[in-house]
Amino acid sequence: MKSKKPVSIQMKLLLSYTVTSLLVIIVNILLFVSINGIAEELSRAYETNVLLNELTDSLERVQSSMTEYLNTKATDAIERYYDTEQEYRDDLQRVVEGSQNSIVLENILNLSDTYLETATDTVQAKRSRIVDKYNVSFEEAEELYGYINSYIYSLNNEQFRYNSTNYAILQGSLRNLEFLTLTILLVVTGVNILLTTFITKNIMDPVQERELMMEAHLKDAELKYLQAQINPHFLFNTLNAGAQLAMLENADRTCEYIQNMAAFFRYKIKRDEKDTTLSEEIGLVDNYIYILNVRFSGDIHFEKDIQESCVNTPVPGMILQPIVENAVNYGVRDLEREKLISLRVFSEEEEIKVEICDNGIGMTKERIAEVMSGEASAAKDNKNLSGNGVGLINVISRLRLFYNVENVLTIESEGPDRGTKVTIHIPKRI
């Protein structure tokens, strides 16, 4: 496998989010642009009609200003006439630019030319007071005005029909575009989901990898555990052989010692992780103290005060010995004075109490709190426990699980050098 720096989950999520968002944004922008285009065209669909309407209006203004001038010969009327004439020409130009070239439009243009010429002639004739002429040419202009109006009206109608067709087509294409938009968005959403699935699946892979590794480690640990179990068996058998040898040689104390050791290891093999009774637990403590006393030349004094009615109480295995071991290791080991450990089992109203007291160096309140909360470094404890491997917190959690009660163990100490008392509270009703 290539050693590539693995992309973090955050990065991958960010990537998937960014890519999918970008896709949606791009699609939206493209569609927005297209729809905008159509909307613009739609709004322009009737533009020519608007232009033609304006043309009709300005034609009417030309005609009325001319008529007004002929009626009144007023100066402002003639000014208005020239203004409106120019306006009409401008509007005409706009219509020509805004619409398709057509026969009708060409007719309008030419008729308008003639009309404006006639109108100007009329106005001039009026100025020169040629009454006959301006009357005739006014009639002509009026006739032309009618023709042009009729042409514009017709063109307007035609354009309207044409524009309506266009409008319908544009609307149709708008609908198509809407459909396309919806389809594209749906496809994008679908692809986004696929993409996200793909990317997040990729995220899951390293997790699975780690799981595999953990499993492998576990297997490894299990193997080591099995190997570790072989040793006590071997030790137990060899110890038994040693005890028999000692008996044959009449070395009674050696024999007893070895037998105690054998019993201790046998119990370890048999009882680890299983429930047992209080009496068996006490027996194990006896064995342990015996072994220790041989080791430490009998200077640990062990006192027992056991209420016989309590000994058959079921307890989880390996709970007393680790506490006693702790009392020896942390409490009394380095004492110069007499080392005393006492075990009391007695019944109270609600519970059976198992007290393990020592006269050792005692504990501060902080230390007690640390131990109770499990903050005391497990590694440190494990190291110091020299191989038995069962810490106090382990005992507490097993007791809690076993009895389903929170308050299962208390530690008391009156201060430095005043000893420690560990009490196990076994509820009578489980």
Partner: protein
Amino acid sequence: MNEKNRKSIIISIGIFLAVLAAATLFGVLYFRLQFHKLPVLYQETESFDHHYAFICGDMQDHFHNAVYEAAKDAFAQDNDYLEFMGRNLNTNYSRYDLMKIAIDAKLDGIIVESNESDEMTKLIDRADEAGIPVITLGVDNTSSRRKSYVGYGYYEVGQNYGKEILKQVRDETQTVLILMSVDAENLSQNIIFQGIKDTIDKSESSKYFKLRTMAVEETSTFSAEETISGLIMGNEELPEFMICLNELYTTCALQALVDYSQVGETNVYGFYTNNTILQAIEKNILSGTVTVDTKQMGRYCMEAMKEYETAGFVNEYMPADITVITGENIDEYLDREVRYEE
């Protein structure tokens, strides 16, 4: 594994973007295409060299429409445009108004179904003054400065009617009723009548035929139909022969024959052809019709105009062929028409 996945992610994103781009492009193109599909409002004028006017009295008339279509096609071959004046307008203008419009709109030439009225003469002369050549169609205006007259021989039409009637001579006197318009300006029908009269008078069996005319009121829009229906359903005895001198009278007459169960009671001769008239001849409702080659007339209009433009003068009279269609030759006629269309 990661390498592979990354590659496939990149490829799939690429494909997706390509598809997306294609879809959007397709959308935009489709939209553009819609624009190209938009109908063209009018033919563009820029592409035409000249712009001519076609003016006639009755714009619905099949005869004039057929002539117009033929003439328009003929002009189009020269890259010119012939406008059917007034057809695009919402106002119904008279021929005289349309003439004025054509002149004031400075068109390049006018083809007009004229009459002999003074007003028409004035307008034709005014157009001529403005440098616009006028060709009269169907009905002439002899006193004007029109450049040419494209029509058909009315006298010849009359002769044809006469010949058809003479074929059915009997040993008794038969009445021939000729339906004529009250329009005094329409001199052509007088010539047709003369043709019929002369043909019959000159024949040996002239004594067996009695000619009568009837004026069809055209004072209001639908009065022709009323007059003709009145005649056919009336209690008076129907004449043996009825001659209708235009398409409208013909159609009205044959409809009245069917409506009032008078088929076979009289021999009706019509003018011009349309689907109704042709079917009526096939079914023997109509005895026959006299028709003019409209395609030829249309072509003549264009030729007269072009000839005048290039040479400065043109034949004063260009007559089109006249055909008589009866039950005997209708199949032949239809065959020829079909072949012509093809």
